[in-house]
C-alpha cells in the first residue's frame, strides 16, 4: 500500500520533457533599448518620437550638469567604442562557434538516444525470432526420438549377432570334436588292419606272390611287344 500525502500524476502536466528554449529573445534596438519602448511611444509620437526624447534628455542632462564631463567621460567613450567595434566585427563568429558547441552536445545526446533505440529494436527482433524458433520444438523432439530408437535398434542387433556367434562357436566345437573322434577311430582301425595284414603275410606267400607277379609281367610284356 503506497502512502502518499499528495496525489500522484493526476494532471497532464509533467516535468519532463522540458519544453525547448525559444529561438530568439526579445527585440532590442541599438543593443540597449527594448523594442516595446518604441512601440509604446509610436501611437502618440510616431517613428521619431523616442529619438527626440533621447536627444532632448541628453541635452538636458548635459546642460544642467546632471551628467558632468570629466576624464572618466573620455575613458568611457574610448572603452565603449572599442567594445562596440569588437562586437560588430567578431560577434557573428563567436555566435557561430557557440552554436557549433551546442550542436555537438545535442548531436552526441541524440546519437546515444538513437543507439539505445537501435539496440532495443534489435533486441525486440531477436526475441521475436526466438519465439518463432519455439514452434520448431516438435521437429527437434522427433529427431531426438528417432536417434534414440536407432541407437536401441543397433544395440539390439549387435547383441543378437553376438549371441548367434557364441552359439555357433559352441556347436562348431562339438562338430569338430565328433569329426576328430571319427577320424581317429578310422585311422586307428586302418593302421590295425594294415599291421595285421602285413603280419599275416608269411615269407612263403611272399615268394609265391613275387613269382606270380614276374610271370604276369612277362605275359604283359609279350602282349605289349605284340601290339607295338
Amino acid at each position: 500500500v503506497l502512502h502518499a500525502t499528495r496525489p500522484l500524476h493526476t494532471t497532464q502536466q509533467s516535468l519532463a520533457p522540458v519544453p525547448p528554449l525559444p529561438e530568439k529573445g526579445g527585440e532590442v534596438r541599438h543593443g540597449l533599448i527594448p523594442e516595446e519602448f518604441f512601440q509604446f511611444l509610436y501611437p502618440k509620437t510616431g517613428v521619431t518620437g523616442p529619438y527626440m526624447l533621447g536627444t532632448g534628455l541628453l541635452l538636458y542632462l548635459l546642460s544642467k550638469e546632471i551628467y558632468v564631463i570629466n576624464h572618466e567621460t573620455v575613458a568611457a567613450i574610448c572603452i565603449m567604442s572599442v567594445i562596440i567595434y569588437g562586437i560588430k566585427k567578431f560577434g557573428a563568429d563567436v555566435a557561430a562557434f557557440a552554436d557549433k558547441l551546442n550542436e555537438e552536445k545535442v548531436a552526441t545526446a541524440q546519437a546515444m538516444k538513437n543507439e539505445a533505440l537501435q539496440t532495443l529494436q534489435t533486441a525486440i527482433e531477436e526475441e521475436k525470432k526466438e519465439q518463432w524458433r519455439v514452434e520448431g520444438r516438435s521437429y527437434l523432439f522427433d529427431a531426438k526420438r528417432n536417434n534414440i530408437a536407432m541407437l536401441l535398434e543397433a544395440n539390439y542387433r549387435e547383441r543378437l549377432l553376438m549371441v548367434y556367434n557364441e552359439v555357433k562357436k559352441r556347436l562348431d566345437y562339438q562338430v569338430a570334436m565328433q569329426n576328430l573322434k571319427r577320424q581317429k577311430e578310422q585311422d586307428h582301425m586302418i593302421q590295425w588292419v594294415e599291421k595285421s595284414v602285413v603280419q599275416s603275410i608269411t615269407p612263403q606267400q611272399q615268394k609265391e606272390s613275387i613269382a606270380k607277379c614276374i610271370l604276369d609281367l612277362k605275359v604283359l610284356s609279350k602282349s605289349a611287344h605284340a601290339t607295338v
Partner: protein, 84 residues
C-alpha cells in the same frame, strides 16, 4: 477590474499615486514581485537559443546608471585632476 487589484503595468499614470496608496506592501509580496520581474527578464533575454549582446548590455547599462547615481555627490564636486 478594480484599481486595487490591478497589476502595476495596467495602471494609468494618473491613477498611480492612488494605486500606490491602495497597495498593502509586505516584504514577501515585494520579494515575490522582484523574483517574478527577474525571472521574466531572464526568460526573455538570457535563456534563449540565440541571444545577442542585449541581455548583458542592458544589465551593465543599468549598473552604470545606478553607480553614477550613487556617486553623483562626489562626481559633481570639482576635483584636482582636470581633463588635460
Amino acid at each position: 477590474g478594480p484599481l486595487a487589484q490591478r497589476r502595476l503595468m495596467d495602471v494609468r499614470l494618473g491613477e498611480l499615486h492612488v494605486w500606490v496608496c491602495s497597495q498593502h506592501f509586505s516584504p514577501q509580496r515585494l520579494l515575490a514581485a522582484a523574483h517574478r520581474a527577474w525571472s521574466s527578464y531572464c526568460a526573455r533575454y538570457i535563456h534563449v537559443k540565440q541571444g545577442g549582446p542585449a541581455g548583458i548590455s542592458m544589465l551593465l547599462a543599468g549598473y552604470c546608471l545606478l553607480s553614477y547615481g550613487w556617486n553623483y555627490q562626489h562626481l559633481s564636486k570639482p576635483s584636482l585632476a582636470l581633463l588635460f
